[in-house]
C-alpha cells in the first residue's frame, strides 16, 4: 500500500479550456477518490431571463450561455416557445436551422478532437484539425454573418436566408472539409501511438452509461443508442440522410471517433438540406405572450440540452430552465476517474469535451 497524495487538478490547468476543479486522492498514482467543483462561471443567465429580459429578447441572451453551441441554445429556447405558443415555423426556416445547427456541430466536434490531440502530445495534429476547422468557421460566417455568436435563429424562424451566392461559397468548402475529415479519420484509425494511448483507456461500459445517464457522444461511444434528434424528433432529420453513429468500445478513442464520424454525417445532412431547400418564407410574425409550460430536448454537439419554459401571460417568463449536456455527464465522468492512473486525467477529461460555461450558466 502506497502513501496517499492529494492532487488538485484545476480550476486553472493547461489541459482545461474552462475552469473546473477536481481534487484527486491518489495512491501509487492511481486515483482512489475525487471531489469536483464547477461553479466558477455562474452568471445568473436563468435569473436574468426571468427578471430582466422579455421572452422575445431571450434567444439572444441564451445564445451567450456558450460560444461553441450558441445556436443550440437559441434554437432549443425558440422551439420551446414556439411549442408553447403553437407557432408553426415555415419549412424553409426549419431546413435553414438544420444547416446552421449541423455546421455548428461540426465546428464544436472538431474543436474537441483538436484538443484531445493536444493533450495527447500531438501538437501538429492539433494544428491540422484546427486548420481544417477553419473551413466550417468560414461556412458559418458566410451563412449566418458571424463566426461564433450567430443570432441566426429567432422565435418564428430565422433571420437570414440562404442565397444562391452563399450556396456557391458553401458547397466547395463542404466538399473539401469532407475530404480532409476522411484523411483525419484514417489517421485516428491507423496511428499506432494514438491507439496505444486511447484504446482501452477511460472505458465507460454501456451499463455504466445507463446507470449514470450519460448523453450525446459519450453515450453513443459506449453503445447506448440515444439521440434527441431521434427521440424528441423536433426536425425532419430522417429525410436528410441522418444516421446515428454508434461505437461500442466506450474508451477515449471511441469518443473521438464518434465526433469524427458525426461530423461526416453532419456534412451529408447539410448538403442534402441545401440541395432540397423548400421554397417559402423564413419566419413568421409572433404575437402575444407565452402562457403555460413546454420543454424541448435538443441534441447539442455535446448531447442532450433541455429547455423548459413556463410563461404566465406576461412578457417576462415565470421560469426558464437550461439543463446542459455537460451537466449530465459530470456524474459519469466523476465515477470514471476511480482507479484510473492519474496520468490519464487530461485525456479522459478532454475526451468528455466538457463545457463549464454551459453548465454553470
Amino acid at each position: 500500500m502506497g502513501k496517499k497524495f492529494v492532487v488538485p487538478f484545476g480550476s486553472q490547468h493547461v489541459a482545461l479550456p474552462e475552469p473546473i476543479r477536481f481534487v484527486f486522492t491518489t495512491e501509487n498514482e492511481i486515483i482512489r477518490n475525487v471531489a469536483v467543483d464547477f461553479g466558477y462561471v455562474h452568471r445568473g443567465i436563468e435569473k436574468a431571463c426571468m427578471s430582466k429580459f422579455k421572452y422575445t429578447q431571450v434567444p439572444y441572451v441564451v445564445a451567450r450561455v456558450c460560444g461553441l453551441c450558441s445556436i443550440s441554445h437559441a434554437s432549443g429556447y425558440c422551439l420551446a416557445i414556439e411549442t408553447l405558443m403553437d407557432i408553426e415555423v415555415p419549412k424553409r426556416a426549419v431546413y435553414l436551422r438544420i444547416i446552421a445547427h449541423e455546421l455548428d456541430r461540426i465546428h464544436s466536434h472538431l474543436f474537441a478532437v483538436s484538443h484531445l490531440c493536444e493533450v495527447a502530445g500531438y501538437e501538429n495534429l492539433f494544428m491540422r484539425v484546427m486548420r481544417d476547422r477553419e473551413l466550417v468557421m468560414e461556412c458559418l460566417e458566410i451563412f449566418t454573418g458571424n463566426r461564433v455568436q450567430y443570432d441566426f435563429v429567432t422565435i418564428g424562424g430565422v433571420n437570414r436566408d440562404l442565397t444562391k451566392e452563399v450556396y456557391e461559397e458553401l458547397k466547395p468548402r463542404l466538399e473539401e472539409l469532407e475530404k480532409r475529415l476522411l484523411q483525419l479519420k484514417e489517421i485516428f484509425e491507423k496511428d499506432y501511438t494514438l491507439q496505444m494511448r486511447w484504446k482501452g483507456a477511460g472505458v465507460i461500459t454501456k451499463e455504466m452509461a445507463q446507470k449514470y445517464n450519460a448523453v450525446g457522444p459519450i453515450a453513443r461511444a459506449s453503445g447506448l443508442a440515444t439521440d434527441c434528434r431521434v427521440e424528441f424528433g423536433y426536425f425532419p432529420y430522417e429525410e436528410l440522410g441522418y444516421r446515428m453513429v454508434l461505437y461500442h468500445e466506450g474508451d477515449i478513442w471511441a469518443r473521438n471517433m464518434v465526433r469524427v464520424d458525426e461530423s461526416l454525417v453532419s456534412i451529408e445532412v447539410v448538403k442534402n438540406a441545401m440541395d432540397n431547400l423548400p421554397k417559402g418564407e423564413i419566419n413568421v410574425r409572433v404575437r402575444g405572450n407565452p402562457n403555460g409550460e413546454a420543454l424541448v430536448r435538443w441534441e447539442a454537439p455535446r448531447g442532450e440540452l433541455l429547455y423548459y419554459v413556463k410563461g404566465n401571460g406576461k412578457p417576462v417568463l415565470e421560469r426558464l430552465r437550461i439543463k446542459t449536456p455537460t451537466f449530465s455527464v459530470i456524474p459519469v465522468m466523476k465515477e470514471l476517474y476511480y482507479n484510473q492512473p492519474y496520468a490519464l486525467v487530461p485525456d479522459i477529461t478532454i475526451s468528455f469535451d466538457p463545457c463549464l460555461s454551459c453548465t454553470a450558466r
Partner: protein, 121 residues
C-alpha cells in the same frame, strides 16, 4: 401547449413512485427542475424513454420553503448533481445535498427564489 406528460405526487410518494417504474436500461433520467411559485417550490423530475419517440414524463410535487426533500441518489446515482443545484440555486433542502458546487461561498444565496432581486446597475 404543454408537450409533456405530468403526474402530480406528494414528496412522501416520490421514492416509491420512482422505484415502481424506473429501470436503468429503459428510462433516461433527464434532470430535476425547481420553480419558485411565490407560495412554495414546485419540483419536477423529468424522464424519457431510450430510443422511443414518446413525450417526456414528469413527476411533479410541491414543497414548502423550509421542507426537506428526500434524496433519490440511491435510486438514480446521477441525480446528485441536480439535487445540489436545487440546494444552491433555489435553497431547497435536499437530504445529502451539501451545496457550494454551483455557487461560491460569497455568492448570493438561492438566487432563483422570487425574493432575490438582482442589483440594478
Amino acid at each position: 401547449m404543454k408537450n409533456f406528460q405530468e403526474e402530480k405526487i406528494t414528496p412522501d410518494q416520490l421514492r416509491e413512485k420512482i422505484k415502481s417504474f424506473y429501470k436503468e436500461d429503459e428510462w433516461h433520467f433527464i434532470t430535476i427542475n425547481g420553480t419558485d411559485t411565490g407560495k412554495s417550490i414546485e419540483v419536477k423530475y423529468f424522464f424519457a424513454k431510450y430510443g422511443k419517440k414518446e413525450p417526456v414524463y414528469a413527476l411533479s410535487l410541491e414543497i414548502d420553503y423550509d421542507q426537506t426533500l428526500p434524496s433519490i441518489t440511491d435510486l438514480i446515482p446521477s441525480a446528485w448533481i441536480a439535487e445540489e443545484e436545487l440546494y444552491d440555486l433555489l435553497g431547497v433542502k435536499v437530504e445529502k445535498a451539501k451545496g457550494g458546487i454551483f455557487l461560491e461561498p460569497d455568492s448570493p444565496k438561492a438566487p432563483l427564489r422570487k425574493s432575490f432581486q438582482p442589483k440594478q446597475k
